[in-house]
Symmetry: C2
């Protein structure tokens, strides 16, 4: 297939400026679910964009949350593919580290910069535009297509599971495409077949009923110290998570998963992992680009990749207590708060981990620390040997001229579980991002060439699916 220029690809090239402008309009609508900013405008934009590309679309309420945008087009076969995306984005903080306004969609050096351009509006737009391309060029689709674009992914999708359960018949499909995928530094497209689960919590420690003069630290308990000690009881400096039973349900990777993982290493296509020294140097080089001497625990090569995909984490997202302004204020804080996320792997269960955390805190003398659940997600993996995975691989080879890197799962999380639970939908993930997309950080961006290829990839994937 490489070398053959499909008519759809030519159409994409000819209309690429328009497609980029559509994406730019999408990212210029801030839609920060955590802060309830601009949500309905973004939902309407995606409904209208689908309609303008020939997709029947509507905004559907959730039970008390931000609405979903649903779209569908009938195709030739009775098979159905469902695309999952989200129109909400992370808050843009820290604002002063952005080189252009976070919601400007500034284009420079062949990249578009904006909060949400990679995660996830670029993918949502590319998929809609791919379907629009097929409808324009071919007048019909090879199979049925459905879109589900939710508005609460970045706040933990609190209403998605019940929305899927409530609308299971509407959403039923044979194949699923997950929200995102990223080009590797070696030019191979990255795909993944699962997500980590997540338990996102807030810990709150309380001391006296008001902030006190720090001279009273001799005899007044400190919320700040209570929180520090409680946190330090959760993970030690060797990265061991100390909650009893935390690792009990962690599944070891399968043979096929290890094989995929090894294929993801090396720079010469589907090569074997390089020798130890080369892998180590490469890891150090990548770490140095992030201002680090090396990765955590000196990890590199297969062990690094294994840990990224198959290890759970305990991360501190933020801590706030006491006086954090300029200069000196001698205060003993009455309140201290930490936000944490635990990334979970199959078969860890966020409710079970929560119970173990509470028990751990109580047994270590921290029963006074309040644990508030912000969100929960189950880990999910699509079996690597399903035909849908092979279809994605073939499509990627056609578009990119290189074998994809297929990760059995990924370091990030997402609400994949209800798709498995209520629809039994196998999911593959690919998209328009790249290794430098900086999701959730300042200067989030995508490369426009990846965006162009990402639209073509969707066209090609539908053709591959129609052959299953």
């Amino acid at each position: 297939m490489p070398g053959i220029v499909k008519e759809e690809w030519r159409y994409i090239d000819e209309n690429f400026e328009t497609f980029v402008q559509e994406l730019r309009s999408a990212v210029q609508k801030p839609s920060i679910a955590a802060q309830n900013v601009g949500m309905s405008e973004a939902a309407q934009y995606f409904r209208d964009l689908m309609e303008s590309h020939g997709i029947t679309a509507r905004i559907m309420p959730t039970r008390g949350g931000f609405p979903c945008v649903y779209g569908e087009v009938k195709g030739k076969s009775d098979k159905t593919v469902l695309f999952y995306d989200h129109y909400d984005v992370q808050p843009p903080d820290p604002l002063d580290e952005w080189e252009s306004e976070p919601f400007s969609g500034d284009i420079r050096d062949g990249k578009m910069y904006a909060r949400g351009v990679s995660d996830n509006k670029g993918n949502a737009c590319a998929r809609i535009q791919a379907i629009g391309t097929l409808l324009k060029v071919r007048k019909e689709l090879p199979l049925n297509v459905k879109f589900l674009i939710e508005g609460e992914e970045e706040i933990g999708s609190p209403h998605l599971a019940e929305f899927i359960e409530d609308n299971a018949d509407l959403l039923r499909a044979d194949f699923g495409v997950w929200e995102s995928g990223y080009m590797n530094p070696d030019g191979r497209p990255g795909m993944y077949l699962g997500v980590k689960g997540m338990l996102y919590i807030e810990l709150e420690a309380k001391g006296a009923n008001k902030d006190m003069h720090s001279g009273s630290a001799t005899h007044i308990p400190s919320a700040a110290w209570r929180l520090v000690w409680a946190l330090a009881s959760i993970k030690d400096a060797n990265e061991n998570i100390l909650i009893p039973g935390f690792y009990d349900d962690v599944l070891p990777p399968t043979e096929r998963e290890i094989q995929l993982l090894e294929e993801s290493l090396g720079e010469n296509g589907r090569g074997e992992p390089q020798d130890d020294k080369t892998e180590k140097l490469r890891a150090q080089e990548n770490a140095r680009a992030l201002g680090l001497e090396e990765y955590l625990l000196g990890l590199y090569g297969t062990e690094l990749r294994k840990r990224q995909l198959f290890s759970p984490t305990a991360n501190i997202c933020g801590i706030k207590t006491g006086y954090i302004g300029e200069g000196q204020k001698t205060v003993l804080p009455a309140r201290a708060m930490a936000k944490m996320d635990f990334r979970l792997v199959p078969d860890q269960d966020p409710d079970d981990i929560l119970a173990k955390l509470r028990k751990h805190l109580a047994s270590r003398g921290f029963a006074d620390i309040a644990v508030k659940v912000v969100s929960k997600d189950y880990p999910v993996k699509t079996p690597a040997d399903l035909p849908v995975v092979d279809a994605a691989r073939k499509a990627a080879e056609a578009v990119y001229g290189k074998p994809p890197v297929i990760a059995p799962t990924q370091g990030g999380s997402g609400p994949m579980y209800p798709f498995k639970k209520y629809l039994n939908l196998p999911m593959v993930a690919f998209g328009v991002g790249y290794w430098g997309s900086s999701n959730h950080g300042p200067n989030e961006n995508i490369r426009l060439e990846d965006y162009r290829n990402g639209i073509k990839m969707v066209v090609q994937f539908l053709d591959e699916l129609s052959r299953i």
Copy 2:
């Protein structure tokens, strides 16, 4: 003396409304040294207030810091008393916990509420007004009086020591009065004879060169965790400070100090400590007023008081890292910062403690944590058997009709050391605050009756000093 109404006291009663208005004008000038807000206006106000009360006053520059206000009046004898105060205040945060605007000087229920009204403008005004009263009523002072009102106490007095050294001849005195004192809940005036030292630092941990998606917590080091572990290495949950050698230079209290400490207990004047059960119940009651079940480590009675006065501390003033806004943001923080103060007791040396802290962090694997010094103060104690202490005791008995509670030192810190080093000045501390003054916290306040008595106390103290 109780029962006898001095003419000066009558003058104070007759002019009390004016004195209160002068104080109110003082606190309505925000003078936040940490934020360089309104400093010169406050300095001018105190110079003008002194002049209006017959004190020769001038503003004197420091070497690069906020200026000092100096005042003097010649008296009958050749002895001199020096009052030390400061016109700067702490920042008013947290603003939303104030019941009235922090710089309004709102008066309700016989109290004036304002940042700085207790610490330290109430004392500065009361002392100026007492001298003004003596000059009005008696036309001359029993001894020479000097005032030193600095502008950097709340940021650690970075220029005070060199100011005192540079102006030692000008400032020379026989007796010193320290900035503040507080009424006890039992109605006895509290005095103290020393201050703790302090080492105020900022700790900063660094991870990658930008905030990362928290999915990368498998392999990217976290500034937040590094800081938590480093902090947890400094003090354990049993309040043991773990820096090797930290306690080496801590002097045990003298016999006379223990005696003073025991006199401070009990509710019936100069009584012995109450029985164990009574002391415990009282401590619990006081703790409950602060929303606590009990004080730290269940302390009460003599042990509580000993710890307050003779134990050093390690306190966290604030921690800032990552996302601390509403809702969920899954971020792995690149930077984490903590502010800490260590309160020191004789003969601990802040430079020595700093060196031990740095060594400790390095030896525990935290050489990457940057330690920035914000301020340093040495601990100081005035010997409890000096005549100046007895003069203060007698004056308090005359004004309050009750024996004072004389603490050999106090829980708080202050820049007393250069007065000892360059002037060899013995210091006693008394003032217009009370146990509920909430220094450094929201709703800082004084009781107006304490303010009235505080002015009379200064008059009486001068008469007692003239008899030494």
